[in-house]
């Protein structure tokens, strides 16, 4: 990791504290106030915003569009500085089939290590700060995302972030990048691998409280800014007798696809809401079946205990020795309560799809009224 080593080197080169160091926090004495924002060896300044470089934006865009499945994901590289996580580079991870988990995980790890090594050789940032994931119609809740993020949150400095890129929204003219981190209550529940009802209640977990969103900013470095500016300017075509539409040439002509009245993709969105609802219902059905089974077993156990007690009372009344009260758990196998994580995530999917539909349709309304106002 480049960050701590550089910070350590800086700290070492600073003059030794002249005053006797306070016994409680001796490290603060060594770092002058002006440098305290920059030197953050122990990752004490919490990350509260994400800054994406223009290069990362374009890389994620390209990878998300070209990936075969809607599961394009990759790693983000960068550094954190005074509460801002600056993501300066990224690279895609190969898409692996679900079968040979063990083998593919190892090959991904090998791939990752050699990419990082190669990037270091050309002076690029090589510390992993999180990962990105492409999604369609805002629905990014899935088990693998959470599994990866839990691993990251434990291993990476500052816990790492996940940047979610919405392909369908980008195609509609609004390139969207959102950054998330798992909430501490979700992590706590995850560590106990316990997502039964009582755990959900005690952690106050619903699908909206699994992730906390971090503000994202996009930044272009001056070189990129000037280059993009150059692309946008139009030059007069050297040919004199061209048609008026091509009289001026520009690498990036303005586009007005946002003003398109046709709100496409609504049918697909509706279908996906239906599908998500179906799978949610199936999952709920499973849960209900399991909890009925639990209730049945428990009732049988309770019955047995009650019967034994009655018998014992009768025997005591007759002056006989009471029968021993056996361990019921050995006689009856009460299944453990099922995990509700899957159903919670599915509900999150439903909500995300519905939210995306609501946004699209409200946009459609605005555009329709705008057109009639314009034409009337």
């Amino acid at each position: 990791m480049a960050a701590p080593s550089m910070a350590a080197a800086l700290a070492a080169s600073l003059p030794a504290p002249s005053a006797a160091p306070a016994p409680v926090q001796p490290t603060y004495e060594a770092i002058p106030a002006s440098m305290s924002k920059v030197i953050d060896v122990e990752a004490e300044i919490p990350v509260n915003s994400i800054q994406l470089d223009g290069l990362v934006v374009s890389k994620i865009l390209k990878h998300s569009r070209e990936a075969t499945a809607a599961t394009a994901h990759g790693l983000l590289l960068g550094i954190d500085l005074d509460g801002t996580l600056e993501v300066s580079n990224s690279f895609p991870l190969p898409h692996h089939a679900g079968d040979e988990d063990e083998k593919s995980a190892r090959s991904v790890a090998r791939y990752q290590a050699s990419v990082l090594r190669s990037l270091r050789e050309v002076q690029a940032d090589d510390s992993v700060v999180g990962f990105y994931q492409a999604s369609t119609l805002g629905a990014f809740f899935n088990q693998s995302l959470f599994d990866t993020q839990v691993v990251h949150q434990e291993k990476l400095r500052h816990g790492g972030v996940v940047v979610v890129h919405d392909i369908s929204q980008t195609a509609r003219g609004n390139a969207s990048f959102r950054a998330f981190r798992l909430t501490s209550s979700f992590l706590d529940a995850y560590k106990k691998t316990n997502f039964n009802t009582s755990s959900l209640v005690s952690h106050q977990l619903t699908f909206s409280s699994i992730l906390e969103e971090l503000p994202v900013r996009i930044r272009t470095n001056p070189l990129l800014s000037s280059f993009l500016g150059e692309l946008g300017t139009s030059a007069v075509s050297p040919l004199s007798d061209t048609a008026i539409g091509s009289a001026t040439t520009s690498a990036l002509p303005p586009s007005f696809s946002v003003l398109d009245l046709n709100t496409g993709g609504l049918t697909k969105n509706l279908e996906q809401i239906g599908e998500a609802l179906d799978s949610y219902r199936t999952e709920e059905g499973n849960l209900a079946y399991l909890s009925r089974q639990i209730a049945r077993e428990r009732a049988r156990a309770d019955n047995y205990i009650a019967k034994r007690k009655e018998e014992n009372i009768a025997r005591v009344a007759q002056g006989l020795v009471p029968l021993p009260e056996e361990d019921v758990t050995r006689l009856f196998k009460i299944p453990s309560e099922p995990s509700r994580l899957e159903s919670m995530l599915l509900l999150g999917q439903v909500d995300a799809y519905a939210k995306s539909l609501a946004e699209t349709s409200s946009m459609g309304l605005v555009k329709m009224y705008a057109t009639t106002a314009g034409s009337g």
Binding site: L55, S118, V216, A235, M363
Partner: protein, 299 residues
């Protein structure tokens, strides 16, 4: 969408001879570049070492008949002194293999360098890449970052052909090929996001934007254009400027758009559909919210 100024070079294709000799591929007449390749080059240039004048790297992409589509690029280590040039082959191979894992479709099509001077070393590197891409010709893209005084930022594309009586690797003629920026329409909004970020004073912009904000800026843009057109038309009417008939016809085509469809029943039908969808979406959302709260109630 052409990049850089156009050149006066002529590309001559002889279709008859090309079809006659099947195994000799035709020379590319057009290079298209995806923005991500350009941005990677700029980033590489930004991270060069102090003593490096220019940086080079490999271009990856797809070839069609007479067109080369550059999809991405990666940096390659190299060193140039007055006596020699060296390219880190091992590094280059590793990077290509790594890249190939993620993007199996993309192959090596050529190389890039920053700055716009072509020298003997360029010819040598070109020769090296030509060996890598045989039987196809390697393309060379030189990107001028515009950081040196008196030079304009731009991108130029070249193919090479041997020159001189005896073919030597360091002798080559670089023939310019037109270069164009190309990306998928669905990536357009991302590029727009970057250009608007670049033109803001702080070079940063916050995310996520709502759809309405984007619509607002687009409408404002259109409104500005209408103002310009209006100013022009007024100037023509007042006799201050000479009217261009072509502009007039374009204006008539554009502004005479027919919105009858919306005014008749179509508007109401669509309004009802959209309202229904909006209602349904909000209903689903509130149900989901209630359901998630109910799950928290311990029976």
């Amino acid at each position: 969408m052409p990049l850089g100024s156009s050149s006066s070079a002529i590309q001559i294709q002889n279709p008859a001879s090309a079809s006659a000799i099947q195994n000799v591929p035709r020379t590319p007449t057009r290079i298209t570049i995806h923005p991500v390749a350009l941005f990677s080059i700029l980033d590489h240039y930004l991270r060069r070492k102090d003593d490096q004048d220019r940086v080079i790297g490999t271009l990856l992409g797809i070839r069609t008949d007479t067109e080369v589509e550059v999809r991405s690029s990666f940096a390659v280590l190299h060193s140039e002194t007055s006596e020699q040039v060296a390219v880190d082959m091992e590094y280059y191979r590793t990077m290509y293999e790594l890249h190939h894992k993620v993007n199996p479709k993309e192959v090596i099509v050529g190389w890039y360098s920053t700055g716009s001077n072509l020298n003997t070393y360029s010819a040598l590197i070109q020769n090296f890449y030509s060996q890598e891409t045989t039987p196809f010709q390697a393309v060379h893209v030189s990107l001028n970052t515009g950081t040196e005084e008196g030079e304009q930022a731009g991108v130029k594309g070249y193919i090479s052909s041997p020159a001189g009586v005896l073919p030597k690797p360091e002798n080559a003629v670089f023939v310019p090929v037109p270069v164009e920026l190309q990306f998928h329409e669905s990536e357009r909004s991302g590029i727009d996001l970057l250009t608007s970020t670049a033109s803001s004073s702080t070079s940063t912009s916050s995310q996520p934007l709502t759809d309405l904000e984007i619509l607002e800026s687009a409408i404002q843009n259109v409104s500005n254009m209408l103002d310009r057109v209006l100013a022009y038309v007024r100037a023509v009417l007042a006799g201050e400027a000479k009217g261009d008939p072509a502009v007039g016809r374009y204006l008539m085509d554009t502004l005479g758009a027919n919105t009858d469809d919306l005014e008749k029943g179509g508007f109401n039908a669509r309004l009802q559909d959209t309202l229904m969808l909006s209602y349904l979406a909000n209903l689903v959302r509130s149900q989901a919210e209630v359901s998630s709260r109910l799950a928290l109630i311990n029976a």
